[in-house]
């Protein structure tokens, strides 16, 4: 092997093929039938269950678990997918510990909730492994709708609209569908090419025409879409990345975390994917964790997440933080990146310790320098091309509860809109609910 974890610079092949394969395998082993039965038996079938309330898509969790208990996982999957057509992906990526499982009464009772996420995966995997798509398209309504973006919001919206009999044209700027599910989530959370499989399974509903490689603001405009279709749904996500605003940001080795993850997700051979020996990820969200952990899994020797506030302020869930630290990632808090040092390429990162005051973050004057070959920016994303004449607030599209934008005929949902957490499951809920509102609006 030419290189190893201690090889300087940004190089590939730090780990053997076997190690890489093991590292990027399914993070969470799926439940087998017996494990699912044991886990399902723990559900109390609560009245007006708190887990349902905690789920942004309001999946009837006690019902689907009871269906698993009684040996009908396919029916359980249907219960899940009725509310959340991306239930398979959400079972993999949802921060269940802050949603359904946090609300589980057994969490209150024993500190050990029913394993709702894993049970959901058991049900949805069981159904999807059969290849069956359990929904039927209603008869054609004659209405046509453009859905822009094929992330969770766009897919959920398109599926719901198609199911109701509308003709959907689904656009995506990239050549491959799936949005963040395909490009933005750590590989070990969606092993086995799951995101792509899920999209193909979802499209089986029919009535959806896919147009990929078509960019809003380039090949198509919002006005054209509004003219050509009865309604438009924007699920365009956040395409831009916030800048670090530190000296030396232009040096080689400074990259967007999202690009790194996207690149990693699409790489055919991870042993060929270069990574630094000393990697620093600036940020505190899920993207920061995904970039940091995957750097470590690729063989980086030292990986540090640098966050500007206290650890409990990180938007990555506690579970994700623990996952990072147990993977060997160091979490450094209360530091701000001031300068990136290096002659062309990154060689060191200079931080200043900060304290939280009423006036904001104030530098303490204490400086910390860390060796760095590679620095990932994960300090939030921005709306890339803001479509004209749409109301924007805080860098996001303004929508009402039903997903209506300030422009007639235009709905929006997912990360590109204000309100709601930027979670896959929230995006699914917003896409689905917008579809319902579009349907109700068009069918009056």
């Amino acid at each position: 092997m030419a290189s190893n974890t201690m090889t300087p610079g940004i190089v590939s092949g730090r780990l053997s093929e076997d190690e890489i394969k093991k590292n990027f395998d399914d993070l969470y082993t799926p439940l087998d039938g017996h494990e699912a039965a044991v886990a399902a038996d723990r559900c109390y079938f609560c009245y007006d269950a708190p887990c349902i309330t905690a789920c942004p898509t309001a999946i009837d969790i006690p019902l689907f678990i009871r269906q698993i208990q009684t040996g009908t996982p396919e029916a359980a999957a249907k219960t899940i997918l009725d509310q959340n057509i991306l239930g398979g992906m959400c079972a993999r990526v949802c921060p269940t510990e802050t949603l359904c499982e946090e609300a589980c009464v057994r969490e209150a009772a024993e500190g050990k909730p029913v394993e709702i996420g894993r049970l959901q995966r058991f049900a949805t995997d069981t159904l999807m492994d059969t290849g069956v798509h359990p929904f039927m398209r209603a008869s054609d309504t004659g209405k046509s709708i453009a859905v822009v973006g094929t992330g969770p919001a766009g897919l959920a919206c398109a599926h719901r609209l198609a199911m109701k009999g509308h003709s959907v044209t689904l656009y995506d700027a990239k050549s491959k569908l799936g949005g963040l599910n395909e490009f933005g989530i750590a590989a070990y959370k969606t092993a086995g090419n799951f995101a792509e499989k899920e999209v193909n399974w979802l499209l089986q509903i029919g009535g959806i025409t896919v147009k990929s490689g078509v960019r809003l603001g380039h090949e198509i405009s919002l006005d054209d879409l509004a003219d050509a279709f009865d309604a438009v749904f924007l699920g365009i996500g956040l395409g831009g990345v916030n800048a670090l605003r530190a000296d030396g940001e232009d040096k080689t080795g400074v990259e967007d975390a999202v690009s790194f993850i996207a690149h990693l997700r699409q790489a055919s051979d991870l042993t060929k994917l270069p990574v630094g020996r000393n990697v620093i990820v600036v940020g505190g969200g899920m993207t920061a964790v995904d970039a940091a952990v995957q750097s470590k899994l690729l063989g980086a020797e030292n990986v540090t997440i640098a966050y500007r506030r206290d650890q409990d302020r990180m938007s990555a869930s506690r579970y994700e933080q623990d996952h990072a630290t147990s993977s060997g990632v160091r979490i450094l808090t209360n530091v701000v990146l001031r300068q990136i040092i290096g002659n062309g390429s990154v060689c060191e990162a200079e931080f200043e310790y900060v304290t939280q005051t009423d006036a904001g973050l104030t530098g303490t004057g204490e400086i910390l320098r860390l060796p760095a070959d590679q620095i990932f920016k994960a300090i939030g994303q921005t709306l890339e091309t803001v479509p004209d004449r749409l109301d924007i607030q805080g860098g996001k599209i303004v929508v009402d509860a039903a997903g209506r934008t300030s422009m007639p005929k235009i709905w929006a949902g997912g990360d590109c809109t204000a309100g709601g957490e930027d979670l896959t499951v929230t995006a699914v809920a917003e896409g689905r609910d917008a579809a319902e509102d579009i349907h109700n609006t068009l069918m009056v």
Partner: protein, 434 residues
């Protein structure tokens, strides 16, 4: 430390835990393991007459009913009496009794309803040194179709007749094992007593089909696509057994007749309950078949600790303690008023009490938007359903009201005096007071 030894019909055993006549007691190998594990006695699996032994099915003999986490709640079986030659069983019984003289050795018997058949087998059993016999009048499957087992147990006259033969031709104590597959268990018990039985044991298993295979449409256990009713046992039958035991214990005709309690005994607590309802000892089968012989350690330690805590010196001190409290419904105190109470600290907010009460009972539990569940005393009839469905023990309790207080449901004062249905004004049979 409490004395767990028992003297049942003069048969001494170091503890009240016997293994019931069943698969665990069919062979010397198993019985030796049981005695090594610490069981107080065994009732050897039922012997039949000399000659070619019975044959068993060669497919599944057991079917099951499960609770959560596949915990076995009920088991049924279609196994017959021993299918090993009589002389082999007798030889092994003799060897076991010889090597474990301090343990109780009872031999279960089932031969045709003919005097000669009983007269023939009794001396053979006596010769083993066994302490007593148990007459299997209970087996509900297979043997009953041949005029034995439950077919005898369902006819009090036969019970009395066979019991009399056994007393006549043997010096051994006779225990008559009763079938629950009858309408009134007091009748066969009385017949056994009339025939001279030293004791009754109950219950034998209950006619049952545990499930139906919905693919093959065959009852379980399924033998080549067909099923037959088997004998049901295990924790699920305990309430039925306790009731039948209590009926015999409190009936004037059978009161005082020694009882060996059987039916779903799984823990020391179950055993103590049977003893309190009048059983001199207990017999265990399904629990041992589910968890192995080692459970006897828990049975012994649990019973002993509880007796120490309550100040009972011996098992005999406990026997029948609860019998005076078993009564008929009409004598229950209608002036006793209780209300459910929810311990908010213990509540985990599952809402099962609310669903149960709101959907199927008296709408006596309120639910706030933040999931606080509270009892509405004005509606609560103290039915206990909320207690029963609550997953947290002692989270919901039934609190008796104090005499003199006003029951908010009825608006009436809780009377201090005992008053039952026999004197209630709504009872058409009530004698007017004047």
């Amino acid at each position: 430390m409490a004395d767990l030894s028992t003297n049942f019909l003069g048969i001494k055993s170091p503890n009240p835990f016997w293994l019931a006549s069943a698969p665990p007691t069919d062979k010397e190998y198993n019985v030796r393991r049981a005695f090594e594990a610490g069981w107080g006695g065994v009732v050897w699996k039922t012997l039949g007459s000399e000659g070619p032994p019975v044959v068993n099915v060669n497919g599944p003999r057991y079917g099951a009913v499960y609770g959560a986490d596949r915990r076995l709640l009920g088991l049924n079986n279609i196994e017959l009496i021993t299918d090993r030659p009589l002389e082999v069983n007798l030889r092994e019984i003799k060897a076991c009794k010889r090597d474990y003289p301090d343990r109780a050795m009872i031999v279960s018997l089932m031969v045709p309803c003919e005097e000669a058949a009983w007269k023939a087998i009794l001396p053979l059993v006596e010769d083993t040194g066994a302490d007593g016999i148990e007459l299997n009048f209970g087996c509900p499957h297979g043997m009953s179709e041949r005029g034995m087992g439950a077919a005898v147990g369902q006819v009090p006259e036969y019970i009395e007749m066979v019991t009399r033969w056994c007393k006549q031709y043997s010096r051994m104590p006779v225990i008559v094992k009763l079938t629950p597959n009858i309408t009134d268990v007091r009748k066969p018990a009385a017949a056994a007593k009339a025939g001279g039985a030293d004791a009754v044991s109950l219950i034998n298993t209950i006619n049952s089909i545990t499930s139906v295979d919905l693919d093959t449409m065959s009852p379980e256990p399924s033998i080549d696509g067909k099923g037959s009713h088997g004998g049901y046992c295990g924790p699920a039958v305990k309430p039925i057994a306790l009731s039948m035991v209590s009926e015999i214990a409190r009936d004037p005709e059978t009161h005082g007749l020694p009882i060996s309690g059987i039916g779903g005994i799984t823990t020391w607590r179950d055993a103590a309950e049977f003893i309190s309802l009048g059983c001199g000892n207990v017999q265990v089968c399904t629990a041992a078949m589910t968890y192995g012989f080692k459970i006897v350690d828990e049975l012994k330690s649990g019973l002993s600790d509880w007796m120490d805590e309550k100040g009972y010196a011996s098992v005999a001190d406990v026997v029948g303690r609860a019998v005076p409290n078993v009564t008929d419904w009409q004598y229950l105190n209608l002036n006793y008023v209780a209300k459910a109470k929810i311990d908010q600290d213990a509540c985990i907010k599952c809402g099962r009490c609310y669903a149960a009460c709101e959907d199927t009972s008296h709408q006596a539990i309120s639910m706030s938007p933040d999931r606080v569940f509270e009892v509405i005393d004005e509606e609560c009839v103290a039915c206990n359903l909320c207690v029963n469905v609550c997953p947290v023990e002692d989270c919901i309790t039934m609190e008796p009201m104090t005499a003199g207080d006003i029951d908010p449901r009825t608006g009436k004062v809780v009377e201090p005096e005992y008053a039952n249905w026999t004197s209630h004004p709504n009872n058409p049979s009530t004698q007017a007071a004047e």
